[in-house]
Symmetry: C2
DNA sequence: AGCGCCATGTAATGCGTTACATGATTAT
DNA sequence: ATAATCATGTAACGCATTACATGGCGCT
């Protein structure tokens, strides 16, 4: 009831609000104009999500009646911040890697603002470990089933494997990027 | 109604059935045991999806009462095959690349079985073109907004860009893989 | 006077999730 | 016997999609 069972769209909204208090319209514009465009910019998704979050006590909206034009600006409550932190602190599971990559990257993108760079590095390290376990299982599947699969099926799987390999490489470089920056200070 | 408005899960089912007539249980097992695991293996998703497809005339189930154990094996109808082909033949849009990558790869994985290798190559070529348009826009966004973004936000976007670059490279190699094979025949 | 943008919502619909329910068969 | 596996379904619930509805503001 309080903090679990929150949709990914709502998580994204919490992450946006932790940086800047915003109206529903602001969030819609952000979702169309930025690479967060994988989230819905439709009013039928965002306004109900905001209403749910407010009902749950995670955000709070203040009405601004600037010159007749009504606008409702939302900001995180203490409970909202706590819920966001708790989500970001969740350990990375195999299931996250297999079916929840979007959520994982969303979590990471808010991480160093909310939890700090140390947490971001820990996250990346854990992510790296999960990938190092998962990638070989995909390769084994491809090797042992290649014969029975259509050519394009095998290629599609190969593309998935390469995507994960790219992520692994990215995670390694991201970790060193945090470390060199720390040294540079 | 007839052929549009079909969920991705249902599309995946159609693709599975074009290869092997299967029961709901067979499909569930396939979804857990293969890298198609991003699809739901839950009975509450698969059986209703099968029922909808059958109601729509795209598949047809035959009851097998092998030794008391009832089993309903589904196969594609002519309309089902047509619907699948029509889906696979859809042109690739920017929206597919931004928000529908899963669907795109799913389409490709069935492609050479259903439409033949020529279509697969055309698909890859078109995919490549869309990527060549889209990737620079992401890079420009990153360059022009890097200053305002938190470090992990910029890194998350970078990971997305690299993923698309990997896909582009993969598409190129996949095309040559089809061509060399054609020469080899 | 009218068009486009700012701004917030609601209603119908459909699908997936989770949990529950049922029953037969095979292995221990 | 009884647990695990085969096998199919249903019910409550929540959320996203699409389309609709409303109204003020600013420009031409």
């Amino acid at each position: 009831m309080g903090a679990r069972d929150i949709s990914l769209l709502s998580r994204a909204i919490l992450g946006v609000l932790v940086e800047n208090p915003s109206s529903g319209y602001d969030i819609r514009r952000l979702f169309v104009s930025s690479p967060m465009g994988s989230f819905s910019d439709s009013p039928g998704a965002i306004y109900p999500a905001l209403a749910r979050l407010e009902r749950g006590g995670l955000i709070r909206g203040r009405l601004q009646d600037r010159s007749g034009r009504r606008k409702k600006v939302f900001h995180l409550t203490a409970a909202g911040t706590a819920a966001l932190q708790q989500w970001l602190n969740q350990p990375i599971t195999n299931d996250d890697v297999v079916r929840g990559l979007d959520g994982l990257m969303l979590r990471f993108s808010f991480m160093d603002q909310v939890l700090g760079e140390d947490s971001a590095v820990k996250f990346l390290t854990s992510f790296q470990q999960e990938l190092q376990i998962y990638i070989p299982t995909l390769r084994e599947y491809l090797n042992s089933h290649r014969g029975e699969m259509p050519r394009s099926g095998a290629l599609a799987l190969d593309s998935g494997i390469r995507g994960y390999e790219t992520l692994l490489q990215w995670a390694k470089e991201a970790i060193t990027s945090y470390e060199t920056r720390a040294n540079g200070r």
